[in-house]
Structures are given as structure tokens and as C-alpha cells.
């Protein structure tokens, strides 16, 4: 078995005094799609946002425990969140392209990190990102159009292209398909499956079918605790815990 890329030990997350995550231990394997599932309010998004420290933006949110990426404690005082987030990209629930052109959307991360040295290199990298996100053929002739002139599914793929442009190690996805129609969802799911070769993907999803379709590993959260974690096949066919069984058969949720 390969070494995990992300290791979480004893993670507690609080919003003020409410505990959203209770003592979660979780190892996420590289180049796999790990799905976090569970009923609403179970803390799966909170856990996801802890991985690139987006919870830092919420003043009342604080955390105990140890979260390591490739052996490095990301909450250590010497860690710079900017460097962390350059390595751990994120795609949000609602497509949120910047109010700028398609090109600028993808180029933004490259520009702020000064990852390219010339204009042509930048263009190549943008093209590569859009191709990786399966969007190039649809937008190659209108890169100067506004990012939000695209359809919802295209916008979400643009956001994925924006995230992978800076070549992060890990991509976090917070219900990336919840605002998309089934056809756009299928396209994005296929994209996620392709991206697995290069990146480690952690995805929060409400749809169990989606988790079953695209993930190799599944973690089931319930009321802030990690109930069960294992291979997706095992979780969906032979869940060990009764709560998992109830959730995937639709009895709680």
C-alpha cells in the first residue's frame, strides 16, 4: 500500500463553542479520488476546508489536532498559507469565475505565483490547463470573453482549469456538481476521473451515486465523526457500520 499524502490525526474543529468535527483520523492516498459523504451538517465541508486552511477566514472557527501533507504539519507556525494553497487547490460548490476574461481567469494563479517567465509560456500553460479541463475546444476562439458568459458546467470546468493551472498536489472539491445539470455533471465527473492520474482529489458530495462512480476511497461522516472509511466498493457493498448502511440505503440523510 502506498504512503498517504494527507494524514489527519485527532482533528477537532469548533465554530465558537459548537463542535463540528470530533476527533477525526483520516489518511488520504495519492492519485486517488477520495469522496467525503454524509448527511447535511455532518462536517464534511468543514473538514475539507481544513485541508487548505480556508477555515482560517472564519474568525470563530478554531481547530485542534494534526494535519500533515506529505509529512509537513500545515498548521505549524512557520507554514505560509499562500504556499500551502498554491499546493492545495480548491473548486467550490458554486462556479465562481472572476469577473474577468476566460484567459485571465486561468492565468491569474500563474501570474501571482510568477510561474511563467514569458508571455508565450503563459499562453501555453493556459492552453494546457484548459485542455486538461476539457474546455479548450469550446473556448479556444473566445478566450477574451468574460468567464461568466459561459454556461454553468463550462464555468465549473473553467474553475477546475484555474485550479490546475498552478499544478497543485491536491485538489479539493466542495460539491462541484451540485449546481450543474446531469449532462454537465457527467462531463465534470469524467474530467475528475482523468485528473486522478496527476492529482490527488478530495471531493465532498451529496450524491452517493456520484461517490460510487468517481471515487476509489470513501469516507462517511456523521454528526462530525468519521464513521467509516475504506475502499468505495467495500463501503457501498459491505458497510461495517449500521449508520453507513442506513445512509447509503437512504434511511437517514
Amino acid at each position: 500500500m502506498t504512503d498517504p499524502i494527507i494524514t489527519a490525526r485527532g482533528i477537532d474543529i469548533f465554530y465558537d463553542t459548537t463542535q463540528a468535527i470530533k476527533g477525526v483520523d483520516l489518511d488520504i492516498l495519492p492519485n486517488k479520488v477520495t469522496a467525503l459523504i454524509g448527511p447535511s451538517g455532518c462536517g464534511k465541508s468543514t473538514f475539507l476546508r481544513a485541508i487548505n486552511r480556508m477555515n482560517d477566514l472564519i474568525p470563530i472557527c478554531h481547530m485542534n489536532g494534526e494535519l500533515k501533507i506529505v509529512g509537513q504539519d500545515i498548521y505549524a507556525p512557520e507554514v505560509d498559507v499562500v504556499a500551502l494553497r498554491a499546493q492545495v487547490g480548491m473548486v467550490f460548490q458554486k462556479p465562481n469565475p472572476f469577473p474577468k476574461s476566460i484567459f485571465e481567469n486561468v492565468a491569474y494563479g500563474l501570474k501571482i505565483h510568477k510561474m511563467t517567465t514569458s508571455k508565450s509560456e503563459l499562453q501555453d500553460r493556459v492552453e494546457w490547463s484548459l485542455k486538461s479541463a476539457g474546455l479548450w475546444n469550446e473556448v479556444s476562439d473566445r478566450l477574451d470573453h468574460a468567464g461568466n458568459s459561459l454556461s454553468g458546467g463550462q464555468q465549473q470546468r473553467l474553475c477546475i482549469a484555474r485550479a490546475i493551472a498552478v499544478k497543485p498536489k491536491v485538489i479539493l472539491m466542495d460539491e462541484p456538481c451540485s449546481a450543474l445539470d446531469p449532462i454537465a455533471t457527467a462531463v465534470v465527473e469524467e474530467l475528475i476521473d482523468n485528473l486522478r492520474e496527476e492529482y490527488t482529489i478530495v471531493i465532498v458530495t451529496h450524491s452517493m451515486q456520484q461517490a460510487a462512480r468517481i471515487s476509489q476511497r470513501t469516507a462517511f461522516f456523521h454528526l462530525g465523526s468519521l464513521v467509516e472509511y475504506g475502499d468505495t466498493k467495500t463501503i457501498f457493498t459491505m458497510p461495517a457500520d449500521e449508520r453507513t448502511q442506513n445512509y447509503i440505503t437512504g434511511r437517514i440523510g
Binding site: 500551502l84 494553497r85 487547490g89 465562481n96 469565475p97 469577473p99 505565483h113 485550479a163
Partner: protein
């Protein structure tokens, strides 16, 4: 069968009545507001209309090379006496001379400078007539009143009628109103010095309050920690926005003039005081504009690894800019119409010269309006109205620039 008409109940008739009542109340409110606006603009425009033309009087003068410019006044008097040889008493002569504005001698001097060929000959020159003559000519003097109740005497009326019959009077467009400074004589008083004073003050005000206000708003909204200090600051800013402007004037008087010793009556100090006054308005509006930016932009940028400053300046700031500009314009419009704080720092002085820098004594449009409204001469009533028109045009021009800027900056999202 179901009934879908009013008879079906559900309290429908009374609900519809309430709706109609409300709509009518709304319409009449708007109508009343419009009516007052029309009345206001109408009366101002009517009063102001007289200012845009002025009366000139033709005088035949001899200019020989020896005449010093200081004696042009005497030349005018001689010319007037020549036109009306029968005027003999000292009092009548004085009245006769007063038909031409005291500015007349300076006008001749300027004509000579512009056209030295005038020297050495007799010329028929058009000089500005007095305000009383102008008012009479435009029928603004009630001749049925007894002589001592009006500013123009029977004798003067006779002379003016003669002059008019002889073609020695004409009405021309009064460019002087827009190009000259204030004067004790209404016929030559202009708005330009006040206009320039206002423009300078506003420029200083904008240069100070916009960057400081926007900076403060961005820091408070995006970076400052939320604790009791930031709450206190917020409450104080909101309170400052409601502080009477004269208080800011007093502050400027004691700090900027008394303590720092900055030049009195100058647009620099005026602009600084106005900036103090507009800052809260700009900060409040800018914070509202920043809050209105969808947080998803900032989140997306941060998740990409942008630093907080980059996230704010690359993504939040440009989207909020049009809103912040609107707030700034509201603040500037307030500042433009502000009189009280300027009175405190001495911008109420009688300023004849057009200020050439922000350090020279100046006055401002609203102060000029206040000064003219306070003057006893009838002709200043019209000047007051015209000054209000100029102020309103200035305001509209400012808003227009803001709208154009906003349209240019507006991003689609």
C-alpha cells in the same frame, strides 16, 4: 365549478382597494415632489435670466496721447456732460455720472491696452451701464412708485429714455458674469472667482478624502480584526457622518489655522475641512460597496494562493470601485454645497481676484450665493439666482463625470 372572480371572497375587493390606494399615494407623492422641483427650478431660472445679458451705454470720448489712464473717469464724465448739456446742479451731475458703471474707466483702460490705435482720436465706446439703469430698462423698476422709493430718479429716467431713443444703449451677452470675480457693483460682479475657489477646494477635498476614505474602508472591511475596537470605530464613523458641518469648520479654524498656521481663507484649508466632513460619508459608502462584492471572488483568489492583499486589490476592489465612486460623488456633492464650515475658516471674504493657487484667498459658490443674497442692491437678487444656476450646473457636470467613469469601470459579473 370554481369562482375566479372578485365575488369569490378571499377578501379580494378590500385587498385590491388597498393596492390602488397605495399606488395613488405613491404617485401623488412623486407628483408633489416634481411640482416643487419645477417651481424651484422655474423661479430660479426666471430670476437668473436677467443676468445673462447686460446693458451697455455708448460714450463719445476723446483720447489723446497725454491722457493718463487715471483720468479716464473724468473723460467719461465730460462725455456724459456733453450729451446732456442742460444738467447743471452738482446733485444732478452726480446722478448723470452714475449711469455708467464705476468700472467704465477701467474698461476704457483695457480697450486702450488691447487696441493702442484708439489713442489720438475721438471714439464712440460701449461701456457697462449701471445696475439701476439696467433694471429700469428691463422694466424691473415700478415707475408708479414715488421718486424717493426707487433707486432711479425721474431725471435719470428721462435721460435713459433719451439715450435709448438716440440708440446709445444696447443689450449684450454678459460674459463678464462667467469670467470675472466679485465686485461691489452688481453690474460687473462675476461668479468666476467663486467657481475657481470651489473647484480648488473640491480638488483638495477629493485628493484627500478619496484615497484616505477608500483606504480606511478597505482596511476596516477586509483586514481589520472584529473586536470592540473596530466596533467603536464603526460607531464613531457613523456618528461623525451626522455631525453638523459647522463643527468641522470650528475644528479647521482651531487646528489648521490656529495651530498649523495654514493660509487663512485658502482653498487648501477649505478643502481640508470639507475632506474631514466627507470622509465618513465616503467610508460608509465604500464599506457598503465592498460588502456587496460576492465573497466567492475573494475565496476563489485565496484558494488559488493569492495573498489577502492580492485577493482584495485584484478582485474585490475593482468590483466595488463603481459603488465607491458613487459614494465619493455623494460626498463631493455635499461638500460642494457646504457653506458653514467655509465661513468659519474665512472663505467668506470679499474676493475680487480669481485665485491662482490653492494658497490664495478664495471664496466658494455657496458662500458667494450667501454673500450676494445678503447684499442690498436689487440687481444682486438676480446674481444670486444665477449663481445658484451655476452651482447646479457644476453639480450636474460632476455627477455626469461620475456616471461616465462608473460606466467605464463597471465590470460584468
Amino acid at each position: 365549478m370554481i369562482d375566479l372572480t372578485k365575488k369569490a371572497g378571499f377578501n379580494l375587493s378590500s385587498r385590491h382597494r388597498a393596492e390602488r390606494r397605495f399606488q395613488w399615494a405613491g404617485r401623488s407623492a412623486i407628483l408633489i415632489a416634481l411640482l416643487f422641483l419645477v417651481i424651484m427650478i422655474g423661479t430660479i431660472a426666471r430670476d437668473a435670466s436677467g443676468v445673462f445679458r447686460q446693458t451697455q451705454i455708448a460714450v463719445q470720448v476723446d483720447l489723446d496721447a497725454e491722457t493718463p489712464s487715471s483720468s479716464y473717469g473724468r473723460i467719461i464724465k465730460t462725455a456724459l456732460r456733453d450729451m446732456f448739456p442742460d444738467v447743471s446742479t452738482r446733485r444732478d451731475k452726480k446722478r448723470l455720472y452714475s449711469l455708467v458703471s464705476p468700472e467704465g474707466s477701467f474698461e476704457i483702460a483695457r480697450m486702450v491696452v488691447d487696441n493702442p490705435a484708439l489713442i489720438g482720436g475721438s471714439h464712440r465706446l460701449w461701456l457697462t451701464a449701471s445696475d439701476d439703469l439696467d433694471l429700469y430698462l428691463r422694466g424691473k423698476v415700478d415707475t408708479n412708485l414715488s421718486e424717493h422709493q426707487r433707486r432711479i430718479s425721474d431725471a435719470e429716467i428721462r435721460w435713459v429714455d433719451n439715450l435709448r431713443a438716440a440708440g446709445h444703449l444696447r443689450r449684450v451677452i454678459n460674459w463678464g458674469f462667467l469670467t470675472k470675480g466679485d465686485s461691489r457693483e452688481p453690474e460687473i460682479a462675476g461668479i468666476f472667482s467663486a467657481l475657481v475657489g470651489s473647484a480648488y477646494s473640491l480638488a483638495v477635498c477629493f485628493a484627500l478624502s478619496f484615497p484616505i476614505g477608500i483606504g480606511a474602508a478597505i482596511y476596516l472591511e477586509e483586514f481589520a480584526p472584529t473586536n470592540w475596537v473596530s466596533d467603536l470605530i464603526e460607531v464613531n464613523i457613523n456618528n461623525l457622518a451626522a455631525v453638523p458641518s459647522i463643527v468641522f469648520g470650528l475644528l479647521g479654524l482651531s487646528i489648521f489655522l490656529g495651530y498649523l498656521g495654514l493660509p487663512r481663507s485658502s482653498p487648501l484649508v477649505g478643502g481640508m475641512v470639507l475632506a474631514l466632513m466627507t470622509l465618513p460619508t465616503i467610508i460608509i459608502a465604500a464599506r457598503a460597496a465592498l460588502r456587496a462584492v460576492p465573497p466567492s471572488f475573494k475565496e476563489a483568489a485565496l484558494a488559488l494562493g493569492a495573498s489577502p492583499v492580492q485577493a482584495v486589490f485584484h478582485h474585490v476592489f475593482p468590483v466595488a470601485m463603481p459603488g465607491m465612486l458613487t459614494g465619493a460623488i455623494i460626498g463631493m456633492a455635499q461638500a460642494l454645497g457646504e457653506t458653514a464650515p467655509l465661513l468659519m475658516i474665512g472663505m467668506v471674504a470679499f474676493i475680487v481676484d480669481v485665485p491662482e493657487s490653492i494658497l490664495e484667498p478664495a471664496t466658494a459658490l455657496p458662500v458667494q450665493i450667501f454673500l450676494w443674497a445678503d447684499s442690498p442692491e436689487r440687481a444682486f437678487t438676480e446674481k444670486t439666482a444665477a449663481a445658484i444656476v451655476v452651482l447646479l450646473i457644476f453639480l450636474i457636470a460632476m455627477n455626469l463625470i461620475a456616471i461616465l467613469l462608473r460606466r467605464k469601470l463597471e465590470t460584468r459579473f
